[in-house]
């Protein structure tokens, strides 16, 4: 065969075609020119985003700057990581090939697996975080979402995926224990559990804020449950296995539910039945989480997951098209005064560290480390595909975050703060909210109460005042963007509720799956304690499942209710805790990666995971420090706690935003819990970081240490690495096709180019 210079074909078995193509051909001049052109276009877009002032900045520049940066980073930085750290060897069998059982271990086409992996990592986080971060202006958020993803988030996802793939798909907690010993492992395990609980609570709070007092939203989101049940029964008894068929039926029903929500909310009966207090919505969500945790997967969880996947991909494409077609003008300033003074209404704290805490998932998400270890590694065909799936998957998520940011910054600034300031500041009425936001010194003409009410009417809501949590803001922005070219003002209310629906769908999918996972973690841990608790290890023991579900739902439900009833306005006190928790999980994952890289003796390249790790530790530790020790009550949990305690002790009956003694007691309780959680998180991560440092020092002294990587197994199959097959890969794939034609009994799935 033709074997050009610099292309090496690796064979494991002389009777089989090659199993790997090692392509060291330099880039062709044409490709160099293309990448140079992409780089120049991205640089121009960056310059427009960063330096154009006065005239409104076009939202499409952000998309161009982002995509251009992603292309260059994927081609060059991810390649560097691949060459120097990952060093993929395609002659080695992946867990999917070695342990293939046709079910959880099954080599899967890289493009399908990319979709699979992306659907698992993408959620509401990258949509909500950037929306809140928009209070600091568009520039800091844009820079962190793009640069943070390239240098931190994608690196974490890629390298954790690599570690797990070389360890038979072991989980993050297990790998921490294997590589860093039992103390680090225990801290990691507890950390993952506590973080999971807080993430579930805050995400549920976002849904509560989106659905409370919104009969349209409650009806259409509530309808997803009977729709999912119908889909579950259909798949089990009527047409088993017809997943895409039932998903399409489900999506059609979902759209009908959104339309019907508008009619129902218009009737006096519907408005009365479905207008719910925040506390009621919170209890309903806790109950839902419990049911989803104890009901069989086929009935509720699996069909919801199909719906969620469909809606996720569809809506993200819709939003991308919307931003590119509508090219909304940016209303936010480049950097707002809140970024510098740290007194923003959506969340307190200055740019460093709280911007990074708030954006969280769009740039670096610790939660991805849980997804990247476990499922995906068991499905991958070749180690060289990890770059596409791990690094590329996170780039896509960052792109989603950029679009959420563009949506938020294209909303009128006065309306943005009307939506995002807590009711204690806006007074909860259009008139008082107008007074409040007009006093903030925002750009653009002042707003009147009538205009605020008109904005609420345009999206079919009672009110848009203090609808915190990010989801209503994103929905409002999306409705404006999509309404501007799809259906006009008549459709704006539909698009608003469409957006609310898909956000709620994402979050409830995370809540039900997360509750289940946490329940299993709890029962495993209890079971491992031994003695009479051993019974908890048996997953089919229903009583144990019920007890653990009640405990898990109780834990996150308590935090959720605390946030819903918080006199200080739940989101702005709890969202930082969510961000810190997520970023701390990322610190644990990056610490693990750094330890393994040092152990393997790649000291020279240890900066690749170590730089994001140190940055992340600096961010999270500063944020934790401020949340614990800041004397400023709006920032420090304990300062707030003590201020309220002293006021209570002095016999005052109202203090700050708390109107009566009960509210004051609630603040004292909430801040105590939040302050304690901040300390617990910080201590757990410090333990993991110190253990990591200790192991690294040991490894450097010893000149490298053995890792728990699985021994090599020889691959007997071939698959291309990148999204598009190269000519050399196509040729090898053709050899395999010919080989399988001669030996049809050897045919494997997933070996096509």
């Amino acid at each position: 065969m033709r074997s050009p210079e610099h292309v090496e074909l690796v064979r494991n078995d002389p009777d089989l075609p090659p199993v790997a193509v090692i392509d060291r051909r330099p880039m062709t001049t044409g490709k160099k020119l293309i990448f140079a052109a992409i780089g120049v276009v991205a640089a121009v877009a960056w310059a427009l985003v960063a330096f154009v002032r006065g005239e409104s900045v076009n939202g499409a520049y952000f998309v161009v700057a982002a995509v251009g940066t992603y292309v260059v980073a994927y081609r060059f930085y991810a390649r560097l990581i691949e060459y120097k750290v990952v060093r993929p060897r395609d002659d080695r069998a992946t867990p999917g090939e070695e342990h293939e059982n046709g079910q959880d271990y099954a080599p899967t086409d890289r493009r399908v697996l990319f979709g699979h992996h992306f659907a698992a990592i993408a959620g509401a986080g990258p949509l909500v975080g950037p929306v809140l971060a928009a209070q600091m202006g568009y520039l800091p958020g844009t820079i962190w979402i793009i640069i943070g993803a390239v240098l931190a988030g994608c690196v974490q996802d890629y390298l954790v995926l690599w570690l797990s793939t070389r360890r038979r798909g072991r989980s993050l907690g297990q790998m921490i224990r294997d590589e860093m010993g039992s103390i680090g492992g225990a801290a990691g395990l507890i950390g993952v559990f506590v973080i999971m609980i807080i993430i579930l609570a805050v995400l549920a709070l976002v849904v509560v804020n989106a659905l409370a007092e919104s009969p349209w939203g409650v009806f259409s989101v509530g309808m997803t449950i009977p729709i999912a049940l119908f889909m579950g029964v259909y798949l089990r008894y009527i047409r088993p296995g017809r997943v895409s068929e039932v998903s399409i039926i489900g999506v059609v029903l979902l759209v009908l539910a959104i339309v019907a929500g508008g009619w129902v909310a218009d009737t006096p009966w519907g408005a009365e039945t479905f207008t719910l207090e925040p506390v009621t919505v919170a209890w309903l969500i806790v109950g839902y989480g419990f049911l989803a945790s104890v009901l069989p997967v086929w009935l509720l969880l699996a069909p919801r997951d199909y719906l969620s996947t469909f809606m996720k991909v569809g809506t993200i494409i819709l939003l991308a098209v919307g931003v590119i077609v509508a090219q909304p003008a940016v209303q936010a300033p480049a950097i707002s005064s809140f970024a510098i003074e740290g007194n923003g209404p959506a969340f307190a704290g200055s740019l460093f560290p709280f911007l990074f805490i708030t954006i969280a998932c769009g740039a670096l998400s610790g939660f991805h480390a849980l997804i990247s270890s476990g499922t995906t590694p068991k499905l991958v065909e070749k180690e060289s595909q990890l770059r596409l799936i791990g690094y590329g998957g996170m780039l896509t998520e960052s792109f989603v975050a950029i679009m959420a940011l563009v949506t938020a910054i294209s909303i009128d600034q006065h309306l943005y703060f009307t939506l995002n300031a807590p009711a204690t500041l806006t007074g909860g009425e259009p008139g008082s909210a107008a007074d409040y936001v007009n006093g903030l010194g925002l750009a653009g003409p002042p707003v009147t109460g009538q205009e605020i009410q008109a904005a609420a009417d345009s999206v079919g809501e009672e009110s848009i005042v203090s609808r915190t949590g990010g989801a209503p803001t994103l929905a409002f922005g999306m409705a404006q963007i999509l309404g501007s070219f799809l259906g006009g003002s008549a459709m704006t209310a539909f698009w608003y509720h469409f957006a609310i629906m898909f956000e709620a769908l994402f979050i409830l999918t995370t809540v039900d799956a997360g509750t289940r996972v946490a329940r299993f973690m709890l029962s495993d841990t209890l079971g491992n304690l031994g003695g009479p608790l051993k019974k908890f290890r048996d997953p089919s023991w229903r009583v144990g499942a019920w007890i653990c579900s009640i405990v898990v739902c109780g834990l996150w439900g308590a935090i959720l209710l605390m946030g819903v009833t918080d006199p200080l306005g739940g989101i702005n006190t709890l969202f930082p805790l969510f961000g810190i928790a997520n970023q701390l999980l990322a610190a644990m994952a990056l610490a693990l990666v750094t330890v393994v890289v040092v152990k393997k003796g790649y000291l020279k390249w240890a900066w690749i995971p170590a730089v994001p790790l140190l940055w992340d530790l600096a961010v999270t530790m500063t944020a934790s420090y401020q949340k614990i020790f800041s004397p400023e009550p709006s920032l420090g949990y304990w300062a707030q706690h003590n201020a309220f305690r002293e006021a209570r002790a002095a016999g005052e009956t109202s203090f700050g935003t708390a109107a009566d003694p009960a509210a004051m007691d609630a603040v004292i309780r909430n801040t105590f819990l939040q302050g304690t959680l901040s300390i617990v998180f910080a201590v757990l991560v410090l333990v993991v970081a110190l253990v990591a440092l200790w192991v690294c020092v040991k490894a450097i002294r010893a000149g490298g240490l053995p890792t728990t990587e699985e021994p090599d197994a020889k691959s007997a199959t071939f698959a291309p690495s990148g999204l598009i097959s190269s000519d050399a890969e196509k040729e090898v794939a053709a050899q395999w096709t010919a080989y399988y034609e001669e030996n049809p009994d050897k045919l494997r799935t997933g070996t096509h180019a």
Binding site: E100, N101, G102, Q103, D104, A106, T108, D109, R111, V112, G115, H116, A119, A120, I121, A122, G123, A124, G125, L203, L235, R236, P240, G241, R242, V243, S244, S247, P296, V297, W298, L301, A302, Y306, S308, T309, C361, S365, F367, H368, L370, I371, G374, T375, T509, T510, A513, G514, R516, V517, F520, P539, S540, N582, D745, K746, L747, R748, T749, G750
Partner: protein
């Protein structure tokens, strides 16, 4: 027309792959190749076992 059909086939291949609908065919192909004597489950049986496995071993979804 044929390119349209090819495009449609590629789309269904992709969607059924991502949603997991084609897992049954994958499993059957695996059984035929590696365990030719094993009994091949029906679609209904396969999906029952699949969901039972998910019941016992849940996967996380991201935030």
């Amino acid at each position: 027309m044929s390119s349209l059909r090819r495009g449609w086939r590629a789309l269904t291949w992709y969607v059924t792959g991502v949603l997991g609908e084609s897992d049954y065919q994958r499993y059957v192909a695996h059984l035929r190749r590696v365990h030719p004597d094993a009994a091949v489950p029906t679609v209904r049986e396969f999906w029952r076992d699949r969901y039972a496995a998910q019941d016992a071993n849940p996967g996380a979804r991201c935030c």
